[in-house]
Symmetry: C2
Subunit: 210 residues, 2 copies
């Protein structure tokens, strides 16, 4: 497949998923959103699950490209920008539908080894990315020396998953979670112990004494 | 329906959901797990969605009963016990299957107003419960006076949703999240600023100065 064909099919998959949801989605639905025929889709993919596996892989690649350079002067700023980006849908118009489709795919994960492998890759990529940003902040002395980058990243990935699940299931906007995440960074990570912008607390862990 | 019949059918629904998942579940599957016939099920419920709506309601009632009295001497201890309980499956043998079924139902929520209403009730009940425990801790002077009980509860419900979603989708045990939650209580809530059991920090917010 050419890159253009891949982009065309993946965009079509995105639109079809948003329109029909995961459970009802057919190869025909995807073909109708693309410039290709159903026959062409079947030439490239065994079926819906095979195509969606590629779609998840494509999403991960795109996510990694999109977040390769995170804006910000300092590691703290870059960590916040990265998490804000994560909690901001790339297309607000279809955010709700897409989130629901992804939640459906997550719920299929225990029945589908290929989905599970892709979701694990994504989980791992997120954790690595966040842990890297936390480590940068430690090296720069911006974050408390007793902070564990992997544990912090693991917790933040859990928070991200929760924000997405609640947005789909009970209509709770992830915007709200952004504020909580910034507060968590203030309280859990900041070497100066700044709480909500105050610099109230100094403790013996301050500085790079590890 | 007698209470015994309800308990019988709800237990059967639980077992059938764990065995077949949500998408594949039929009224026949549920009948087979119960002492009733498929005809009896259809007498009481219009179909699978109607039965599952009652099942979600039943789960919420049971959850509320089960957590009416939370063990612990102090509000802090009760909050931790409540969150630990939340992150501990009531039946470890079927925890994974049940979590997956609930995630499937959450992903159906945007397509099903009745599920959504039940899930919202549960979300609300959780938030209220946690906010109440945080308020108790504020009144007792155990937690920092600048803590907002509703915002704290909202964040913790997001964390709980994330732990459940990751457990189903990428096999990440919620046990892990318990530790993060205790750390969050130490850092975000404790009036004495104790971090991981140390009492390292005193700040001007200590005490009930609100």
């Amino acid at each position: 497949m050419t890159d253009d064909t891949i982009d065309d099919l993946m965009d079509a998959t995105y639109r079809a998923l948003c329109k029909h949801g995961y459970a009802e989605l057919t190869m025909q639905d995807i073909a109708e959103e693309s410039s290709k025929t159903k026959g062409t889709l079947h030439y490239h993919f065994e079926g819906k699950q095979d195509l969606l596996e590629s779609f998840l892989e494509y999403l991960l690649d795109r996510f990694e490209d999109r977040t390769e350079t995170v804006p910000g002067e300092t590691p703290d700023e870059r960590l916040r920008a990265f998490l804000d980006e994560l909690l901001t849908p790339s297309d607000p118009d279809s955010a709700e539908e897409f989130r629901t489709a992804i939640l459906e795919i997550k719920a299929q994960s225990p029945y589908n080894e290929a989905y599970r492998e892709q979701l694990r890759e994504f989980d791992r990529a997120l954790r690595d990315r966040i842990a890297g940003l936390v480590s940068d902040g430690l090296e720069a002395g911006e974050f408390r020396a007793d902070v564990d980058p992997d544990e912090t990243a693991d917790f933040l990935v859990t928070v991200f998953n929760g924000a997405e699940a609640r947005a789909a299931a009970v209509d709770r906007s992830p915007e709200h979670t952004k504020r909580h995440v910034h507060e968590y960074i203030d309280e859990h990570l900041r070497a100066d112990g700044s709480i909500n912008g105050d610099t109230a607390v100094e403790d013996e862990h301050t500085g790079a004494d590890e």
